[in-house]
């Protein structure tokens, strides 16, 4: 068999390839959830052709191999098969001149990505980088990064975030989820990306009795925290049992390109049975058009519009959808039950773990509470003071998220609503590395409050108000000028109004 082959794509041809190369039964592959998921995904991506790259050396698998498989009695291969997917139809005869640079045909724009197939009996999907669903004005994958691929000299690129299936030996779901999260933080915070086996080792080093290093059956939140701290980041744990908290947290931190590990309890809602706990990486979200209340209150957050999240679920596939369509705070999943029926396995969110840069000290909940109180005050004034105007305060929607100083200033520079003098004063002001932004808007009316995300909670975290439009800004300043701050319970609100009064 040659080093490479070119094959017309179909889900059967994909199963055929893996079945032959890994000596697995075709039928068992066809029933694998990843294959069911990939069939749908590749149809959406209009995949036409697969190029096989044999004897591919994959760094992550090699680490796992060196740590475990090499010392097994049975011999396992040390090299992998890498499959490249293209949305252009071509065959071996067309590909050969492309390879030798004697063809005009370009493959760059048709490259959908690659899957490394590990030489293992069951858990075969190694490092996988596939193009995301298109943005289409509603899907956001904020921390995808370019993966540069060299296929026998052809330079290709895919914008993605790497995924892999747990092998249930050196890594369980939590190690795989953390590994995917590190793909994003590695680039963002410039740390080396440990392989799954290194993540599992770092997670379990201080817990000798919790479970074995290898085979590893899973990590608890404390162990996950150790794995994150081991690469120099701060694990930040959030309880996420409410839909809206999960949505708001996902949105707030992912706008700053931060990935997160979501821990869920999987259940079969038809049978009423629990399957167990599972960890995935949240890699994106889809936002709807309708303004939506936060926890059923008259408080509108942009994040509450989120209809679904996309997750790297090591048991399903990359960018797997989990939807907020049920009314019991449980997410739909792409898992199948024992009868291979999809739609019955639901996920109850439990925790979110975010690997944070150590300087991000002010948590989202502090800003959310401040804005909830300001929103309430604005509504109280509108209601009781009996305003007779065109400013419908009840319609105000807040967009709250973390960002960097650099990204914030780049956005301000391009903003069309801000006056030049205002822009200059913001752009030339020294700001902390991370900023919380809270933008309130009603139609064309917009006002923004920015906060220092790197300060301490009792500090002066409010930085300034940004007046994009007149009415909301004037209303805020009028409140600040007249309110008796001694009547306000929130210390942060007192500080905000005192600063605005100056």
């Amino acid at each position: 068999m040659g080093q490479y082959s070119v094959i017309d794509y179909s889900i059967d041809s994909l199963c055929d390839i893996i079945s032959i190369e890994n000596d697995i039964s075709f039928q068992s592959l066809k029933h694998k959830l990843h294959i069911i998921y990939l069939e749908d995904y590749f149809q959406f991506m209009e995949v036409r052709t697969i190029v096989l790259e044999r004897d591919y050396i994959d760094k992550d698998y090699l680490e796992d191999y060196a740590a475990y498989y090499v010392r097994s009695f049975n011999s396992y291969k040390r090299t992998c098969l890498r499959l490249h997917f293209f949305s252009k139809a071509f065959n071996q005869d067309i590909f050969k001149p492309i390879l030798t640079n004697s063809s005009e045909i370009e493959l760059t724009n048709d490259y959908v990505g690659f899957i490394v197939v590990k030489p293992l009996p069951q858990t075969i999907f190694g490092r996988t980088c596939l193009r995301t669903y298109p943005n289409a004005g509603c899907r956001y994958f904020n921390f995808v990064r370019p993966y540069h691929v060299n296929l026998y000299g052809i330079n290709l690129k895919v914008e993605s975030i790497a995924y892999q299936e747990q092998d249930s030996v050196v890594a369980a779901c939590a190690s795989s989820a953390i590994w995917s999260a590190f793909q994003a933080t590695g680039l963002l915070f410039q740390h080396s990306i440990p392989s799954p086996v290194e993540i599992t080792k770092a997670a379990t080093v201080f817990f000798p009795y919790a479970n074995r290093h290898f085979p590893n059956k899973g990590l608890n939140p404390e162990q996950m925290a150790h794995a994150i701290r081991n690469i120099g980041l701060e694990p930040f744990l959030i309880s996420a049992k409410e839909y809206d908290i999960l949505k708001a947290t996902t949105y707030a931190y992912q706008r700053a390109k931060l990935p997160m590990v979501l821990g869920v309890m999987l259940e079969n809602w038809v049978e009423g049975t629990a399957l167990g706990r599972h960890a995935v990486t949240i890699t994106g979200y889809r936002i709807g058009n309708a303004r939506t209340r936060f926890v059923g209150q008259d408080f509108y957050l942009k994040s509450s519009r989120i209809e679904k999240i996309y997750c790297h679920d090591d048991q399903v596939g990359p960018f797997a959808r989990m939807e907020f369509t049920r009314d019991d705070n449980r997410l739909t999943t792409s898992w199948v039950d024992k009868n291979r029926v999809m739609g019955r396995i639901v996920a109850t969110p439990e925790i979110i773990i975010i690997p944070l840069y150590h300087k991000i000290r002010i948590p989202f909940e502090i800003i959310l509470e401040i804005i909830y109180r300001i929103d309430g005050l604005l509504k109280l004034i509108s209601k009781i003071a009996g305003l007779n105007n065109g400013l419908n305060i009840n319609e105000i929607e807040w967009d709250i998220f973390l960002t960097t100083n650099n990204d914030f200033k780049s956005e301000i520079r391009l903003d069309k609503a801000l006056a030049e003098g205002e822009k200059l004063s913001i752009l030339t002001k020294g700001l902390p590395k991370y900023i919380w932004r809270a933008i309130g808007s009603i139609d064309d009316e917009k006002v923004e409050l920015i906060f220092d995300a790197t300060d301490i909670e009792q500090g002066e975290i409010f930085i300034r108000l940004i007046p994009y439009s007149q009415s909301l800004s004037e209303l805020m300043r009028t409140i600040a000028a007249n309110i008796n701050v001694d009547d306000i319970e929130s210390i942060q609100l007192i500080k905000i109004f005192k600063m605005l009064k100056v």
């Binding site: 048991q315 439990e350 109280l380 004034i381 064309d444 009028t478 409140i479 007249n482």
Partner: protein
């Protein structure tokens, strides 16, 4: 006073004056229950509360 580019005036000076007078004469702390829901505040504050037993539960699937 900040420079504003969008000058569509949706709130009149009289209304702003009315807001100011109302704020001066009102104890806001007595009014907050009309718009602030303590359950919502509690949900927000619960974000950082994790049951210690939960930290020991492994994610295994």
């Amino acid at each position: 006073m900040s420079e504003i580019k969008i000058e569509k005036k949706l709130i009149s000076n009289e209304d702003l004056q009315k807001v100011g007078e109302w704020l001066k004469s009102t104890d806001i702390s007595q009014e907050r229950s009309k718009v602030i829901n303590e359950d919502t505040i509690s949900i927000i504050n619960q974000m950082s509360f994790i049951n210690p037993d939960q930290l020991k539960e492994p994610y295994t699937l």
